[in-house]
């Protein structure tokens, strides 16, 4: 199971980096989101397999509970990534409306 998680994280990381470097801004925003998900998956794999029983439910005292901290952290990270993604898409849409393009190569007003 750990190997599966490692391979999945690696593939998603590669996909995310590839998409992030595309010329189209919408595609690079998607690449950013895939990257964030890859790192959330990495985080999840860190703490997922220590326990067999969910934490904070009626379970036998001897049962090994899974780590609740990691799940709380990932939930926070997912919310943050949603927020960043939303702001990024908003900025891209307002820039596309102003300059009539989403191509990063033609957006060179900051040069010089």
């Amino acid at each position: 199971m750990n190997v599966l998680f490692a391979v999945a994280t690696g593939i998603m990381f590669g996909l995310g980096v590839f998409q992030l470097l595309r010329r189209d801004m919408v595609k690079s925003a998607m690449g950013f989101y895939i990257l964030f998900t890859a790192i959330n998956l990495l985080f999840f794999a860190v703490g997922a397999f220590n326990g067999r029983v969910p934490a904070y439910v009626q379970a036998a005292e001897t049962a090994q509970v899974s780590d609740p901290l990691v799940q709380a952290l990932i939930l926070t990270a997912i919310v943050i990534s949603f927020g960043t993604y939303a702001i990024l898409l908003g900025l891209i849409s307002s820039s596309a409306r102003r300059y009539r393009t989403a191509d990063l190569d033609t957006l060179d007003h900051l040069k010089g």
Binding site: L42, L73, T76, L91, S95, L110
Partner: protein
């Protein structure tokens, strides 16, 4: 166990609740300004009080929700974070006062004050927090509000600069999150003091070095050091003046603070590696920033490049690593924050009185003839920046 000190909450929650109130009062600009000024002054007074308490009684602690440190969130300002916090709240208070008299168009938007207060809260939280994941959360709050503040700026290039910064700083946040995952995988805790205790004794796990490198990348990106610097002049120049003053003087110091924590508290064994790299990057930053500032034709952009050089001086102090050098770095960071923010606010004030509202050197030529007092102030600031009366 030290008792909880509820005063620690004030610098974070006064701006946050102020922001919520400002959104409710979106129609009344004067009320918004009054709320913003009150929240910033409260945060300033509280940060000063915490610095004094730190001086007298050592570490101040607040455990959020009453949970104990390895699981709960802890706010633990020690002397270093209390000092940086006083610096941050002072600059933000001056920025808020500048906003009251500022005539830029974006400042009168109803969203401006809440975003500014949110940035303030994120900044204060990033300095006060005692665990590294909360540092990430507060840093994200700061980044997002500053991105939107720059995107609504009067400068036409604001949106483009904001996209550039958001993509790059999101990469920085990803690096930080990856470092947090590596730390949690090896040590099973995220509290800074706990990690330091675990790193002190016992063998070095392999992931610890990777975590040190990834965290260093994240903090270097945050403070715009040489290979990661290219977003900084564009983003800072496009920002509205009060936001530019805060960004250029204290927001880059979050990265500096992180680097000090990294070399002095967390990764003591990896510190020689990190320090030697910081020395090289600092020297490159000093030369590159100074030379690049020479060939700009915009007063705000020139000051942004000069920030880049001065962060190099601070990194040199951290990289040297002796107690005296560190004290020098912290004092320099303190001075740089006040001087740079005051110079930027003077530049913004001059530019807003000029006919075409720009800080290009060709547009503000001859401004000193009309504003004699302002030019004297600017001269004093320039002398302070070079460190003339030593």
């Amino acid at each position: 166990m030290t008792p909880d000190n509820p005063l620690v909450l004030l610098p974070i929650f006064a701006p946050l609740s102020g922001a919520a109130l400002c959104i409710l009062m979106a129609r009344y600009l004067r009320v918004q300004h009054a709320i913003g000024l009150t929240a910033s002054s409260l945060a300033w007074v509280a940060s000063l009080a915490i610095l004094i308490q730190n001086w007298q009684g050592g570490l101040q602690v607040y455990r959020l929700g009453g949970y104990q440190p390895p699981y709960g969130i802890i706010l633990a300002p020690d002397m270093l974070s209390a000092l940086f916090e006083v610096m941050a709240t002072t600059v933000v208070l001056c920025g808020t006062i500048y906003i009251l008299g500022c005539h830029d168009k974006c400042v009168s938007l109803p969203a401006f004050m809440p975003l500014f207060l949110c940035m303030n809260a994120g900044l204060n939280g990033a300095f006060y927090t005692g665990d590294i994941f909360t540092l990430f959360v507060f840093q994200e709050l700061m980044i997002m509000s500053s991105v939107v503040l720059v995107a609504i700026s009067d400068n036409r290039l604001g949106v483009e600069a904001a996209i550039k910064y958001l993509l790059i700083s999101a990469m920085g946040s990803l690096f930080l999150l990856m470092g947090i995952a590596a730390i949690y995988a090896t040590f099973g805790t995220l509290t800074l003091a706990d990690i330091a205790r675990l790193l002190e004794g016992g063998e070095r796990p392999l992931l610890a070095q990777a975590a040190a490198v990834v965290l260093m990348c994240a903090f270097l990106l945050k403070s715009a050091v040489f290979p990661f610097h290219f977003w900084q002049p564009d983003f800072h120049t496009a920002a509205p003046t009060p936001v530019h003053a805060v960004l250029s003087s204290v927001v880059v110091k979050v990265g500096v603070y992180g680097l000090i924590r990294l070399t002095m508290l967390l990764f003591i064994a990896e510190a020689p590696l990190v320090r030697s790299l910081l020395l090289i990057l600092g020297v490159i930053g000093i030369f590159f920033g100074g030379l690049a500032a020479l060939r700009t034709y915009d007063a705000k952009r020139m000051l942004a490049y000069s920030t880049f050089g001065q962060i190099g001086f601070i990194l040199l102090g951290i990289g040297w690593g002796t107690p005296l050098a560190l004290v020098g770095a912290i004092v320099y960071a303190f001075n740089h924050a006040f001087i740079k923010s005051s110079l930027l606010m003077i530049t913004g004030a001059i530019a807003s009185r000029m006919p075409n509202k720009s800080a290009k050197l060709i547009d503000i030529g001859g401004a000193g003839n009309q504003m004699r007092n302002v030019s004297i102030l600017y001269f004093i600031g320039g002398l302070a920046l070079t460190g003339i009366p030593r």
